[in-house]
């Protein structure tokens, strides 16, 4: 198992490339999902991207995330299977 550090740039890439967020809307780590136009299904969409692109299994807590910083904190507490790295 390898610890993975998700940076702001990494998450920005996921949000813009995979979740159709406008890059200009992302003004910093404190940006909220509301401000990005992400709704209650965004957590499920994020789960799919994390699993299929990064091999990261996330739990139900992902649905409670409300900002970019919260998401970074959450992701950096997760681990990634070595096989998916």
């Amino acid at each position: 198992m390898t610890d993975v550090r998700f940076t702001y740039d990494d998450l920005q890439a996921i949000l813009v490339d995979d979740m159709a967020v406008e890059a200009e809307a992302l003004t910093g780590p404190e940006t909220t999902f509301d401000e990005l136009g992400l709704d209650s299904l965004a957590g499920a969409e994020l789960q799919v991207v994390l699993l299929t692109k990064f091999g990261i299994e996330t739990d139900e807590d992902v649905h409670a995330l409300r900002s970019v910083q919260e998401t970074l904190d959450y992701l950096n507490q997760q681990t990634i299977p070595a096989s998916a790295g």
């Binding site: 709704d39 209650s40 299904l41 957590g43 499920a44 969409e45 799919v48 699993l51 299929t52 649905h63």
Partner: protein, 378 residues
């Protein structure tokens, strides 16, 4: 031993669909529930859905779709009728024999199959197996749902998603080299996730408990977020499995179970397929469970969007949980044009029996149905 290969293949020779005329728009839901057109559309892609009038059951929709598929096939006889449904007319007996009888197919084998929203793909696999095993030459496969009958009218989530309808295909014995031949299947289930999609009451488990079902257990329930994740992952994985077996490097159309526009977009993304290649008609009919794939096929075919030889993958995910996919090349087909699929044409109908001011009549219908919603179980 059943043979799948160059002989004994099941070939699609007819296609038809049926929708009840009663329209429920998002605004009509917003008028009585804490929701809005924008909320529903942004999360599901759905603008309106159809619901049956009081007294209309799954069999009525199945008969109409079946008749249209038979007419499309230019045949009046089959050996077997398989009906995929989550909302049979009765717990017992199966609905298929009554449907067969009304279609003039009395004395033919007829049975129901339940795999919730995956039911139609499962039923296609069963039909193909009956043909491959030389048990049948022709099989009528129907997916039909009066899903609104198990929806809690007070549940803003499921009431916004689900609708009623039916679709059917006629399969015949043929060759795997023909357009329309069902080439490969991928089917699966994961019973550990049974609780994601349920009607908890009404079955032997609740009845043997000796406790009447609660109001909540009498209706359909779904855990939206885990369903979303599993639906995307399973439909993408299952589609890839049939693509691997066909050897196709790409497809012209992905006809996924019409669960939710965002699920279908995510599946297309997973398959590196442009989103416009994912067939979508749920904006006008909602999620019709086992009926959704043949309804979407009929809709697209009647609009002339398929060309013979187009490579198509059907994929579904449903309660159980279950999933399934198959692949075929689009055959030459004349589908029964169901005018009720097209909102533009709804307002131009002349003497059609369904043409009684759809919006007003469906509102009456809703008021009537929902006024009595608390009387008891659906």
């Amino acid at each position: 031993m059943a043979r799948f290969g160059h002989s004994g293949a099941a070939v699609i020779m007819g296609l038809g669909a049926s929708l009840p005329p009663g329209v429920v728009t998002n605004q009509m839901l917003a008028d009585r529930l804490d929701t809005s057109d924008e909320w529903i559309h942004s999360r599901t892609g759905i603008r309106e859905r159809r619901v049956v009038a009081r007294g209309v059951a799954t069999s009525d929709l199945a008969v109409e779709a079946g008749a249209r598929a038979l007419r499309s096939a230019g045949c009046d006889d089959v050996d077997v009728v398989v009906l995929a449904t989550t909302t049979p007319d009765h717990p017992c007996p199966a609905t298929a024999p009554a449907v067969a009888a009304r279609l003039g197919l009395d004395m033919r084998a007829a049975f129901d199959l339940g795999a919730v929203c995956s039911g139609f793909v499962y039923a296609l696999a069963v039909g193909a197996g009956l043909i491959a095993g030389e048990i049948a030459e022709r099989v009528l496969v129907i997916g039909a749902e009066a899903f609104s009958t198990i929806i809690d009218p007070e549940d803003r989530t499921t009431a916004a998603i689900f609708g009623d309808g039916a679709g059917a295909v006629v399969l015949r014995a043929g060759s795997a080299t023909e357009n329309g031949a069902l080439l490969h299947f991928d089917l699966g289930s994961e019973g550990g996730l049974a609780d994601l999609i349920t009607v908890a009451g009404g079955g032997s488990k609740q009845r043997s408990s000796g406790v009447p079902p609660s109001r909540r257990d009498s209706y359909f329930g779904m855990q939206g977020k885990p369903v979303f994740k599993n639906a995307v992952l399973r439909m993408a994985q299952s589609s890839r499995a049939v693509l691997d077996r066909t050897g196709w490097d790409t497809i012209e159309w992905l006809v996924g179970h019409q669960a939710n526009a965002r699920i279908l977009n995510a599946v297309a993304d997973q398959l590196d397929l442009p989103r416009e290649r994912a067939v979508m008609n749920l904006d006008r009919v909602g999620n019709t469970s086992a009926a959704s794939i043949p309804l979407a096929l009929t809709d697209w075919a009647a609009a002339g969007r398929f060309s013979p030889g187009d490579r198509i993958v059907l994929t579904a995910f449903g309660g159980g949980v279950t999933w399934g996919s198959t692949a075929f090349a689009w055959p030459e087909l004349t589908v029964g044009h169901d005018r009720h699929l097209w909102p533009d044409e709804r307002h131009n109908e002349g003497s059609d029996k369904h043409n009684s001011s759809p919006t007003r009549s469906s509102r009456d219908l809703l008021n009537e149905r929902f006024a009595s919603a608390t009387e008891g179980t659906p």
